[in-house]
Symmetry: C2
Subunit: 254 residues, 2 copies
DNA sequence: TCCTTTCTACGTACACCGTACACAGTACGC
DNA sequence: GCGTACTGTGTACGGTGTACGTAGAAAGGA
């Protein structure tokens, strides 16, 4: 399950909300809510029960207000997602790694993002076709670029390297979330699910037709208890990623 | 936008459908449709207008049947997605790269998957928490493992390497699809979108606060016409991926 | 031949979703 | 005190997947 963002809709309004610049008119009834209240509650809801549990009705009910009231504070759900994203970005810790070895710098950026996605798994499944142009996104982008700056990469490479690295973290988090969702919905863990499918699969699948698949599949399945193991995939992927970047930087030294 | 798969539901039934083993009872009225007809039409629809355009009602209408009729052939939409996935997997070309250099073998696997995702962009956004245990998936997995087999990797590494590599292709395809969706929905390309946001952003953003972001962002934006360029990201990512795998294999030689 | 059984097709209905729109009521500026 | 701008909300619309019940068709058995 994934969700769209503010692509449509008025960019000016979205930008104004992201940067909290209000028209500051002191007319009319005092607002009973605030933008932050709406956004923060939405984040809590998504953290607790996933993006699919974040509906306007449920959010309104949690806050204690009628569904349509939310639209006084937020143009629509797409913009709400933009605001949620920028809010969690803004709150990320940003450790200073100036002067450290590049591998440690990269690892830090990657780990910061892994922590973000561990705390807010829904972030991995909201579209990032265009980033929310808010203060959180800006601070995050700037900080992460600084961490990778001065390593001999060109600006264009810097941008590409960061994007590639963030994509890795996002994808891993998405896969982990998918695996957990599958486990929850089927009420079976990977092992049980396999045992459930094995007998019928054996009757229908000619094992000799796919020898490599059978060999490697069982080897991987036995190594970690399931077909896909989040920690192992992380270690492996990070290793490949770092080695790949090392090659890129080595090429620059010459 | 992404969609769930058959996690819930009866595994036996799903497996039977995937392998096309029917109870073959010759009673009752002749079926007016076939499973293949339903699945193929669904694929065509998703190819043409995206996953979000694939609704049971629209699919039924396209076939020329009442919505509920589909449920005679398929337990639900989740299982339909399983069947669609396995079908496009089954039809992938599988070029034999035995004896070639490993870089060419890996590149071939990667390109085959890129072609799949180019023809069927929706594939990138259906969950793959648990793969559909059908003939297509089996053949694909076996073929791709064989392409990477015999390069000195252990079976567990082989599985991890393949997963990592497929994740890269999927992620790239997803990002590309997101970018296109953003362009379509906002009716602005990246450049127009930036120009639209720039004036207001300039008023609210202290450029001196994020010097690195501004510097690198503009450099990247000028290099390729937009914030994110699909081809450039592909080239860069593939390079890093191959170099990373090279390091892994080099480590094995010693 | 006719009846029973089994299967296909599908109309209706339900519980959701995001949100457009109209309207009631409140509090400030003049 | 009045106009005006604003908040809060009830109702309703068009969309989603699909549970349930039923009508009717075809085949097997009597």
């Amino acid at each position: 399950m994934s969700s769209d963002r503010s692509s449509a809709g008025d960019p000016d309004r979205t930008l104004a909300l992201l940067w909290r610049v209000s028209g500051e008119s002191r007319r009319g009834p005092r607002p009973g809510l605030s933008l932050d209240r709406v956004v923060d509650t939405a984040i809590e809801l998504a953290d607790a029960d996933g993006l699919s549990a974040l509906t306007m009705r449920r959010l309104a009910q949690t806050i204690g207000v009628a569904p349509m009231t939310l639209y006084t504070y937020v143009p629509g759900k797409a913009e709400l997602l933009d605001l949620m994203l920028d809010a969690v970005y803004a709150r990320m810790p940003r450790t200073d790694t100036a002067g450290r070895h590049w591998r440690e710098r990269v690892t830090t950026v990657v780990e910061e993002n892994r922590a973000l996605l561990a705390a807010h798994p829904w972030v991995a499944s909201v579209s990032t076709g265009r980033p929310p142009l808010g203060p959180g996104q800006m601070a995050k982008y700037d900080h992460e670029l600084r961490a990778l700056d001065g390593l001999g990469l060109s600006d264009v490479e810097l941008d590409a390297a960061l994007a590639h690295l963030l994509a890795f973290v996002r994808t891993h988090a998405r896969d982990a979330a998918d695996a957990m969702a599958a486990e929850r919905e089927s009420r079976m863990n990977d092992e049980q699910w396999w045992e459930r499918n094995a007998p019928l699969l054996a009757r229908v699948l000619d094992e000799t037709a796919f020898p490599t698949a059978v060999r490697v599949g069982t080897a991987a399945g036995q190594a970690h208890g399931s077909a896909w193991n989040a920690d192992h995939a992380w270690q492996f992927g990070l290793q490949v990623l770092l080695d790949g970047l090392a090659a890129l930087m080595g090429r620059h030294e010459r």
